[in-house]
């Protein structure tokens, strides 16, 4: 018996910068209604992986499938189903919240009416409705991150890719964003791949992928991986996997 096909399937993906292997034969799936956390220290290859998943780079070998479509064969059209929040902000600071969202909607080919409707819905869902005409430059870090998430959801993607979305946020803003994203995945049944180096953002029932020096060291439910390691918590389990499989 086979389960539902994953929103994102990565098969034996490899990538090098010059002669340095950055990603080494990665394979994993990301399914709908599940938060999948890609946990790795800085330099582990998370951002490079995101560049491959978003077609900014092309892989040296391996395959990426989004909803069953091969990303590098179908080209950019597969990205229609993907919402992306990069680690580095991609907002235009001198445009207003509305102008940023409408620009994105235009890039997605959305009509004006639909764009305005979706913009209102997403801003309300992320408590930003009162900021519509504010210049992005005037928003604080937490609001900017939520705006980027609202923007990534404008076209109702099936797969959401977040590269360290909580970087630079204070503890309260981080907690709030983590809760909002878990709620979002459950409510909308979307697939979420979330890259982070912050272990406290991982919940027990999240699917966890541990990445180190471009290699996938462990994959499975976070709680299960802790149990399998025989360690007391995820912090120790993470250290265990990194040393045991180095």
């Amino acid at each position: 018996m086979t389960g539902p096909s994953p929103a994102l399937a990565v098969h034996r993906l490899s990538f090098r910068y010059g002669k340095t292997p950055t990603l080494d034969s990665l394979s994993f799936d990301v399914c709908s209604g599940v938060v999948t956390i890609l946990l790795g220290l800085n330099g582990s290859g998370k951002t490079t992986l995101f560049s491959l998943l978003t077609r900014l780079f092309a892989p040296d070998s391996g395959r990426i499938e989004i909803l069953g479509m091969d990303l590098h064969q179908t080209g950019s059209s597969a990205l229609r189903h993907v919402g992306i929040v990069f680690q580095q902000t991609t907002l235009d600071l001198d445009l207003s919240v509305a102008q940023n969202l409408l620009y994105f909607a235009a890039l997605q080919g959305m009509g004006r009416k639909e764009a305005v409707l979706r913009m209102t819905e997403e801003l309300e869902a992320l408590d930003l409705a009162d900021r519509l005409d504010h210049k992005v430059r005037t928003l604080n870090g937490g609001h900017r991150r939520r705006l980027e998430i609202a923007r990534a959801l404008m076209h109702q993607p099936s797969l959401l890719l977040l590269d360290e979305p909580t970087v630079g946020l204070d503890i309260d803003a981080r907690k709030s964003l983590v809760a909002q994203l878990h709620d979002l995945v459950r409510r909308n049944d979307i697939a979420l791949l979330w890259a982070t180096h912050l272990i406290d953002e991982v919940r027990e029932d999240d699917t966890l992928l541990i990445l180190d020096k471009g290699r996938l060291l462990a994959a499975g439910a976070a709680g299960e991986l802790v149990k399998q390691s025989g360690k007391a918590d995820l912090v120790e389990a993470f250290a265990y996997y990194r040393t045991a499989k180095a």
Binding site: Y17, T22, G40, N42, G43, S44, G45, K46, T47, T48, F50, S51, T54, R55, L56, F57, A58, G75, S76, S77, A78, L79, R80, V82, I84, F86, Q87, Q88, T89, T90, L91, D92, D94, L95, Q99, L102, Y103, F104, A105, A106, L107, Q108, G109, M110, G111, D163, E164, A195, H197
Partner: protein
Amino acid sequence: MNAAMAWRAFRGVALREVLRFFRQRGRFLAALVRPLVWLVIFAAGFRAALGLSIEEPYETYTTYEVYIVPGLIGMVQLFNGMQSSLSMVYDREMGSMRLLLTAPLPRWFLLLAKLFAGVAVSLLQVYAFLLISRVYGVHIPLDGFVGVLPALILCGLMLGALGLLLSSLITQIENFAGVMNFVIFPMFFLSTALYPLWKMAESSPLLERICAINPFSHAVELLRFALYGKLNVMSLGVCLACTMVFFIAAVWSYNPRRRFHSSRTG
């Protein structure tokens, strides 16, 4: 690619460029002041020193101010093309370029949209300059304002495509000063923008040959002829060919396999 969706994306990119342009009032002012300084100060000083014979497309003796106007239009478009390139490097460093390049449209189409958006902005600058020049007293035929439009679009595309290509090759915004020294100044001064070819030949046949093969010279001559309702076929051919070559090279440079994004953080 659905045509309606592509059009919306195209319009979105153009609208953003125009919004950014109007937001940066200093840029508009600089775009106007630069050629006006040349027209009002430089040309006035050189009018007496530089005698110009009758040659196509002119049908009578022309003042130096009249001669220099097409070159200054080219200058506006050259600087605008490089400004677009600078803004792409800036967008890439600030991350907003990723948003464009991860849109679900072919990359060549997104770059073409960006290119046309840059041309739209350059047209605003050129027509503002032409109007001021006319008010200042430089005789430019009124029907030339309309006749020059296709040439302006083509020259804008050519210089914008060159800017696009350069933006893919420049890894850091700090390196952009090199573009001023090694691209803008040589292109402008080694062209027919300020002096006709025969004048160059009088002082140096080598300079004349360099000017003759400079694509910017052909852009200037295409504009000069178009302003007087004439077509310079040779310049048209060179501008079309250069636009194609620069644009294809830019699309190649922005190919994911070229890995022009250098940021590696996580």
